[in-house]
């Protein structure tokens, strides 16, 4: 329930009160997506219609989820954990897997040491959030997740490799990452724990459930080890602007963005890079707004980018006056666009002394290189790009490579 905790973190008045988050996917018939333990205690449960939740608990606070805020906090947490290891996988709902293989000298076994190490990474987070972190340490994601679910906030559960099988045995089979149908049938057979599942002979499992049965068994015995799949870390640059008076006017917002874009692009130009992924964020006291845009081709053109972003803002403007505007670039490109290959004016062959060569003529240096390659290898692997059928709906038929003949 990370999202509920984050809401309470942002609004401490909600501490120890019944709070629910509304399901962002169901707009027409609102249901409970997440709820605080106080709400749970009053009979509210997940996926319950909100009207019913209010009938159980009249002082309930129902909040619209702020997905951008949760995402930015997850990125923040992930960034902090990356000080422990570069391999971090964010599995959603506040679950993070950290691969610490080979880092035993840094993070020695021992519950206190691990707890200290992890908590140290969150020194700028409030204690209320840090104190509820639960840590599991085991081989593979499945086992470490089970370890974390059985851990208590200040007591990490550490499973050494040789004790892995005995640790997994009493765990319920409902934790297995398998089909609901297989799970239901296993429960019908009276199998409740992973230990009971391992007692079934493999041929029986295969006969009943096919390959999936065999896989379920390997999860239960700890033979299947699922490795951390690190999320691609996007290097990003951020530029932001604070407003003393919150800005609600879209025109003024666009002008501020234009100014911010100038600074950001100047920095980028300096590094000889162009940008493709752009994110605009607006923050106010109790909310946020953001827009993501991926340019079709990387660009450094202030006018083009501004025009695109402005039209996006006009389509979905912020819902409240903004106190802080942030512009983030998160995908870059240093090479020239492929389209430029066909811009003949721009890409005419040039010789070192800047004399332009006429279209279709091959520079003498290239001519020599082709002759040399033909002599040595019997052929020349140098081609020109030619247009075949540029408007073809089949991409590989639009252009082709033609041998350069001399």
């Amino acid at each position: 329930m990370l999202q509920i905790r984050l809401e309470i973190l942002r609004n401490p008045n909600l501490q120890n009160t019944p709070v629910v988050l509304l399901n962002p996917k169901k707009i027409n018939r609102r249901t409970v997506w997440q709820c605080s333990k106080e709400a749970l205690g009053m009979g509210v449960h997940l996926n319950q219609p909100v009207s019913q939740a209010f009938s159980f608990c009249q002082n309930l606070t129902a909040l619209e989820p702020d997905l951008d805020y949760y995402n930015s906090m997850e990125i923040n947490i992930s960034g902090n954990l990356s000080r422990l290891s570069p391999e971090i996988e964010s599995a959603g709902n506040g679950r993070f897997f950290v691969n610490v293989d080979g880092l035993q000298h840094l993070h020695k076994f021992g519950s206190d040491r691990i707890r200290e190490n992890v908590h140290r990474q969150f020194d700028q987070f409030p204690d209320s959030l840090v104190s509820c972190i639960r840590i599991g340490w085991a081989k593979g994601k499945f086992a470490s997740w089970i370890a974390a679910t059985t851990a208590r906030p200040n007591k990490p559960v550490i499973v050494e490799d040789q004790k892995l099988i005995s640790f997994l045995k009493p765990s319920p089979i409902s934790l297995l990452p398998i089909d609901k149908d297989i799970m239901r049938r296993l429960q019908q057979f009276g199998i409740r724990t992973l230990g009971e599942l391992t007692l079934l002979p493999t041929p029986t499992l295969v006969r009943q459930f096919g390959e999936k049965g065999e896989i379920a068994r390997t999860w239960a015995t700890g033979e299947k080890i699922d490795l951390v799949q690190p999320n691609q870390s996007l290097k990003s640059t951020r530029h932001s602007m604070d407003f003393h008076t919150p800005i609600g006017n879209v025109e003024i917002l666009c002008k501020s963005l234009k100014k911010l874009l100038e600074t950001a692009l100047a920095d980028l130009k300096h590094q000889n890079q162009s940008v493709q992924g752009i994110r605009i964020k607006g923050l106010w006291t109790k909310g946020s707004w953001s827009l993501n845009h991926i340019l079709r081709n990387p660009s450094i053109s202030h006018e083009d980018i501004y025009r695109t972003l402005k039209s996006n803002i006009l389509v979905s403007p912020p819902t409240s006056p903004i106190e802080k505007l942030t512009l983030e670039f998160f995908q870059f490109c240093t090479f020239e666009l492929q389209d430029d290959f066909f811009n003949h004016e721009k890409n005419r062959w040039e010789v070192p002394n800047n004399k332009k060569i006429a279209k279709g003529k091959i520079p003498s240096s290239l001519r020599e290189a082709i002759t040399e390659m033909k002599l040595r290898m019997g052929f020349s692997p140098l081609y020109r790009i030619v247009e075949i059928d540029p408007l073809s709906r089949i991409p590989e038929r639009r252009h082709a490579l033609l041998n350069i003949e001399i």
């Binding site: 691609q232 996007l234 991409p395 590989e396 033609l402």
Partner: protein, 99 residues
């Protein structure tokens, strides 16, 4: 796959004869689908499993039924790392290819 393509994409020896090679040929790829048959994950050449953030465009090609039939379901996808790729499913062999 070569049967689908009009241009020669054989080995180098043949290139010397034909002189013309395909640019951007489709390469076999792996795509995970959801229950509705829409792409959800893309496995890149280096084995990375990337989530598909947006399906930007989808179009279908049914052509050349009079000779070697072409029947493809194309998608332009935006991956979680921001990369834009074009993939298609050959509806005759049900295999996926990327450009």
């Amino acid at each position: 796959m070569t049967t689908e393509l009009p241009l020669s994409n054989e080995n180098r020896h043949d290139d010397r004869v034909t002189r013309l090679r395909i640019l951007n040929p489709p390469l076999p790829t792996r795509i995970d689908l959801d229950q509705d048959g829409m792409p959800t994950y893309y496995r890149s050449k280096n084995g990375k499993h990337l989530r598909i953030s947006i399906i930007r465009e989808r179009w279908r090609i049914d052509d050349e039924w009079w000779r070697e039939e072409i029947s493809r379901d194309y998608f332009t996808l935006v991956l979680e790392n921001g990369m834009i790729i074009t993939v298609f499913q050959n509806l005759l062999s049900h295999k996926w290819y990327s450009h």
